[in-house]
Symmetry: C2
Subunit: 165 residues, 2 copies
Amino acid sequence: MSYSLPEFLAHAIALEREAAERYLELADMMESYRNDEVSQLFRDMVRYSNMHHDSIVERAKGIALPALRSWQYRWRQPPEVGGEEAFDPGLNAYDALRYARENEIRARDYYVQAGKESSDAEVQRLAAEFAAEEAEHVQALEEWLARTPRPSATWEHDPDRSGAA
Amino acid sequence: MSYSLPEFLAHAIALEREAAERYLELADMMESYRNDEVSQLFRDMVRYSNMHHDSIVERAKGIALPALRSWQYRWRQPPEVGGEEAFDPGLNAYDALRYARENEIRARDYYVQAGKESSDAEVQRLAAEFAAEEAEHVQALEEWLARTPRPSATWEHDPDRSGAA
């Protein structure tokens, strides 16, 4: 089976819109914590996502796009909020960055896979380009994570650290 | 800490709107599979959710509501779609019903917990009423699940069945 250009474009548009919405949410949350640095990072991500979204919409002009289901493009929820999300809704900067990173990885993997699953040259070209962009976002978030204090309260539950001496 | 009426109403409105959107998606998907029975069930759920939503909006008239974060009210994604959601986006009727049930359970538990966490009598009253409604939805979905064929392909991965003889 070949993954078509309209399917690809519909996903890319939805992924970028979703990213912009989630980054805006994270930026506002960080601002409310007076974490201006991380808030600014997330606002930059909102801007990139919106710009990318608009350029893909332009590319898709005149192409009938399929309707997607919510779980095909929505971000996964941050694992840290667990079952208590209703009452303790905040994420610290570290967990917010991890949440963003996980979803950027998911977007990157989506584009890599889409390129593989399509025999359409234009899908392959765009998928490679978009995967590279997402990989840059993952890298940027990794760098921020490396210099963001890890909250000690979550240390024990952090899978990155389990088994560490 | 006491959970306030505006917080409670904001959640209830968001939960009902989210449920209506997700049930519409599931109804359309079941219709595309020519499963008219389950599609009709989901359309009924859309209607109930919309009616409930509208009545809570009416109740909240004149009350300033807080902004919520997406993970406080959005449905969790169906576990079955795994990492392949982009390319194999459908859910069979059984998995769609399980997905709906999990999210109704989550809504019910939210209302139960909200009632416990609040010292506001009106929150307690509404929370008990809404929890009972969600419990009815859970029950209805349980009954549909009991008479819906379980797809054999997912049998082995079904946690309800693991360890069964």
